[in-house]
Amino acid sequence: MSSVITISQLSKHYQVPEREGGLKAAITSLFNRKYRTVKAVNSITFNIEPGEVVGFLGPNGAGKTTTLKMLSGLLHPTSGDVRVLGYEPFRRSYDYLRQITLVMGNRNQLTWDLPALDSFDLQRAVYGIPVDEFKRTRDEFIDLLELKDLVNKPVRNLSLGERMKMEIVAALLHKPKVLFLDEPTLGLDVTMQRRIRVFIAEYNRRNNATVLLTSHYMADVEALCKRVIVIHHGRILFDGDLSNLVNQFSAYKTLSVTLQNPDTELSQYGEVLSKDDGRVTLRVPKAQTSQVTAKLLSDLQVDDLTVEDAPVDDIIDQVFSQKEEA
């Protein structure tokens, strides 16, 4: 089967006016403006297959949103090729737009003063969804996200989490095949994040939809994405299984030990990260993990011991800092 998204050497450069601080520079720049080229996305290449859920990771300003905007037809690429479902997104053909959706966690498309139900109706009209199908999809989503009691309230009276759920319903009513989700869980509490995550996973499963997701919450990525693409300064640093990312970049493991004698000094075994209630957390180089574990068990009276990979957040941090140095 052919890829849903193919991106080849895709770049987007912006010309931004540049001037030094101060009034004089401000006046000079009125007449003689200097521009600087910012390479927001710099020759990236990847493919995404049907039904894949891919996490798109990177620090702020890495080029994630710019890439999503090129994919959803909002920005014209400076160079390179981009195709989604066989369409060139920037042509904004209606046939293409009908098959995709864009969700931005920090922005709303629902009308503030209207009940969400009315906004859904507007989506139906815009996408020309047949009424029966529309009602079926809408009720299915309302059910899945448990929104029944809220759809008649004006959107402005909903909580942030409730509103985001409504936003997602509105964005998916036309059953898009490709989902571009830009921080869909931004600012939500843990329970709400999980709800939305489960819903996206369910939508993906039922419709074999392809999802490209950016999020600052690693929990989202770990729960939804088998594969991640890491982007930094407009370039791709890593593209592959999340587990490989962990293996490749995680130099340490975390050992949690509970000892019978809580006062034992453990710094000779590894870097002590924390100590509370007799439970000690140690950071140990990955290669030495089994050695240290064996030593701990033979040297001391151990009640409990667990070995964990470093949190993905930390690993991502390391990926960025390593590449900065390189």
């Binding site: 912006y14 949103t65 905007k69 959803s72 037809g73 909002l74 920005l75 014209h76 904004r92 209606y94 046939d95 737009l97 009908r98 995709i100 959706t101 864009l102 931005m104 920090n106 922005r107 709303n108 498309q109 003063d113 209207l114 009315d118 109706d121 507007l122 009209a125 815009v126 996408y127 020309g128 830009d182 921080e183």
Partner: protein, 261 residues
Amino acid sequence: MNPFKLAWTYFRIGMMNELQYRVNFFIQLLQSAIALTTGLIGLSLVFGQVNNLAGWSRAELLAVMGVHLLMGGVIRSAIQPNMERLMDDVLNGTLDFALTKPADAQALVSIREFRFWQLTDVLVGLVVIGVAVAQLQVRMEVLQVLAFIAALIMGAIMLYCVWLMVTSIAFWVIRVNDIVNLFEGLYAAGRWPVGVYPDWLRTGLTFLVPVAFAVTVPAEAMTNRLTPETMLFAAGLTLMFVVLARGVWLIGLRSYSGASA
């Protein structure tokens, strides 16, 4: 997607929503009454001094006032709310949502909002026009009525086009609220036939802000002053404005990159 059907859906939902807020209706009614009263006082002040103004009699000026009220209602109910929302969308980056819809973006941003209660002004305008026609004691021929309606529609289209062009400036400078205020001030000038103004202002009111065509020309149609040439000229100008507005919109859209996340 049929844009008229879509516009109807927006209209229907907007109306249903606004009908819940009866207070708005009374506030709007009060505003219309104030506008009408001050207009009438202005007229009587003028005609306390003179018998006609640049060749327009009192009843004829009443007709101008009626058209001005009516067109003001059209602007405030259908044009201005959409353009204000467009401005907000450009500022906040939410225009992205409109641009990822399978519909013509210009059509979509032009039909999303409708302020139902502002139609009071349209109603009051129609009543004033009716009174004016009665006072004029002329029998309006069918052709004249048709010309009047056509002139109104063309005038509304021209105003929409100018407003869209002004709003499109937001693509480059983001904040254009002041320009909109200026537009409102100039529209207020349409309360009098453009013939009463000095040449330079009349030209501005004709070509920059086509108040002349939105208000004076329809009033001319009612008062037997309209020539086929003016009508033809209006049609040509409307077409020009439509093409120009489309062009400015498309160019503006190209420089829109959305507020970054």
